[in-house]
Every structure is written in C-alpha cells, then in structure tokens.
C-alpha cells in the first residue's frame, strides 16, 4: 500500500470516524492529590497512537480516552507506574513512550549526546590551545595593517565598547 494512500486513510479515520470524546481528565478522580498528579504526569508522557503528535493526557481521540481509562483503572487497582508502562509497551511497542527507556537499543539516544558533548569540548580545548601557541603566520604584514586601520577607525566612531 502506498504511503500516500495510507495517510489518506488515516486522515479519513481521524477526520470523520472517531467520535470526539471528553478530553479533560475530570472523569478520573483520585482521592489522593499525589496520585492525581502521578496520573497526569504518566498520561502526559505517553503518546497517543492515532493522533499526530499529542500525549494521552492532551488528546481528544477516542482511543486516547480508552487508554486513559485503562491507565486510570490500573492505577486505581494499585499497579505501579512500571507495570502500567510495561502493559502498554507489550501492546503498542516503545512508540507509546515519549520518554524512551534506557536499554541497548536506545543507547544511541541517551549516550549519543554525551559523545557529541565530548567532541565539542575537544574542539574547544584544541582550538584554544592552538590559538595560544599560534603565531600570526597566516596574516601578512599588509593585511595586519589593514585590519588595524579598520579597527582603529571603527573604535574612533563608536567610542569604547567593552
């Protein structure tokens, strides 16, 4: 099936088929405000599957409402956050998690940035060292003069600028 057709189908589905459900979390009362906060945070970090890019907490799609209900029931039954996440991942895959879990397949996401940062730090240190030791071998005397002239006239016009 071509991708275009598939997206068409999905647009259809979303636009016309799914009845719009209540999308506040008002239907999910908790006695304990802490639990309520937990519920809000958890559904906020889970991805609605049929929506473009919305969390379960923010989506008005019907399936999102069903899954909120599921999460709510599980929390009410005293299941832990980990169990609830496991439940959803078993059915929908890692795609539902906005917060990718740390495991071998996500090492790239979680450790890649560190590597990037190290490269950045390396570049800074190397550049600074180079700068310190470098003589101005690349600037000819004439060019140097021109730059100086430019800077001098510039600072005359603008006053001192720290």
């Amino acid at each position: 099936m071509s991708k275009q057709f598939a997206s068409l189908v999905f647009l259809w589905l979303i636009a016309t088929a799914l009845p719009v459900a209540a999308y506040t979390l008002a239907d999910f009362p908790f006695d304990d405000p802490k639990k309520e906060q937990e519920f809000r945070e958890l559904t906020g970090k889970l991805r609605c599957l049929v929506c473009q890019n919305e969390s379960l907490a923010a989506s008005d799609a019907d399936l999102a409402e069903d899954l909120r209900r599921e999460v709510y029931d599980m929390m009410k039954a005293g299941r832990s956050k980990e169990e609830i996440i496991k439940f959803l991942v078993q059915r929908y895959g890692d795609f539902v998690l906005y917060d990718p879990p740390l495991k071998p397949s996500t090492y790239l996401i979680w450790f890649g940035p560190g590597v990037l940062l190290l490269i950045g730090a390396f570049v800074v240190i190397r550049t600074l060292k180079q700068k310190k030791s470098a003589r101005e071998k690349t600037l000819s005397a004439e060019e140097q003069q021109r730059v100086e002239a430019l800077l001098n006239t510039a600072s005359e016009t603008q006053g001192t600028d720290k």
């Binding site: 991708k3 999905f10 589905l13 088929a17 049929v50 019907d62 399936l63 059915r91």
Partner: protein, 179 residues
C-alpha cells in the same frame, strides 16, 4: 592534510542526514509495527455479534490458520475493505474472524446483512478492551494467526486484492505447511 579535511566534515554530516531524509520519504512515520507478532493471541471472551448469548474466545482460533479482522461501522475505510473481505472469504478456505470494535450492535448486524458477511464469527467488543490487548490503534487492522494461536503478521489499514495476493496468501500457505 588534516587541516583541510576537517572542513569536509559538515558536508559529510549533511550527506548522512540527506540519506536518512531520502529514506524517510518512502516510510510512513505513523505505521506502528505490532510488538505482538510471534506472541500468542491474548486471552479474550466476547459475546458473538449475531448471538449475544454465546461467546467467542481465543480457543475458537486454535487448530487452523485464520485471519482476525478488526472493523466497525463508523470506520470509513472498513466500508471500502468489506467487499474485498467478502470476496476473500468466498474464494479461499481460510476462516476470517471479526472483531467489531466499539460499535453499535444493531447497526453492525444491519451492515453485515446488507453488505454480506465474510466472517465465521464476529466478537463484539463494546468497550474496546480486547482491542487494546491486541494493540489496535485504528480500524481496519488484520491479524494473521497460525494453528497454535500465535499472531504471525498484522496489516494496519484496509486489505486490497493485491495485498492479499502479495502478502497474505504466501504467508498463509507457509503457515498451513507448518505442523
């Protein structure tokens, strides 16, 4: 050499990104592969659409290769798919089970009477709980289930004759030969 080569790095990085972007054009970011493939069909017990007193359960799917099709009357592309399914059920000896998802009972029965019934049995999932267990995120979806009741394949979106020819039948034949 090192000095001038380092200026190539941005170009190379961009080249890499461009390759991924090119690949991305032919992928669907919204298609979610099912993690249930290779896993047994989850336990369920739902009323039969045509006979609410009777139940459709996981056991019904055992012992033969079958299809499980998730549909609903509110789903526009299910309407488009339905004719294909009716044809498929008529021409092939592969049982097709239905899962009617979050639907109106009377409306669903009328739909089958009017458009033909390709299903051996339809499980009526009023609240969508079994659909969640199956990881359904949009209708229609079609699961291919082997003799042991294991999910072997899932197609999200409507079936087409070509899809059946290219993807479904070869797989079903292969599964039929398994023990």
């Amino acid at each position: 050499m090192g000095r001038s080569l380092k200026f190539l790095i941005p170009l190379l990085l961009f080249g890499g990104i461009a390759l991924f972007l090119y690949k991305g054009l032919s992928m669907d970011p919204r298609a979610i592969p099912s993690p249930l493939i290779g896993k047994p069909v989850p336990e369920f017990s739902l009323p039969r659409l045509d006979a609410p007193g009777e139940k459709v359960t996981r056991k019904d799917l055992l012992g033969k290769v079958s299809l499980l099709n998730v549909w609903a009357t509110w789903c526009v592309s299910c309407r488009a798919e339905h004719g294909v399914l009716v044809d498929f059920a008529r021409t092939h000896k592969i049982p097709v089970y239905g899962l009617d998802w979050k639907d109106d009972e009377a409306g669903a029965q009328a739909w089958l009477e009017r458009l033909g019934n390709p299903y051996v049995a339809v499980a009526f999932d009023k609240i969508g709980r079994t659909a969640i267990d199956l990881g359904v995120y949009g209708a229609p979806e079609t699961f291919v289930i082997d003799k042991k009741g294991t999910i072997r394949h899932k197609i999200a979106g409507p079936l087409s004759p070509q899809l059946i020819e290219d993807e479904l039948l070869p797989l079903i034949n292969k599964l039929n030969q398994e023990g």
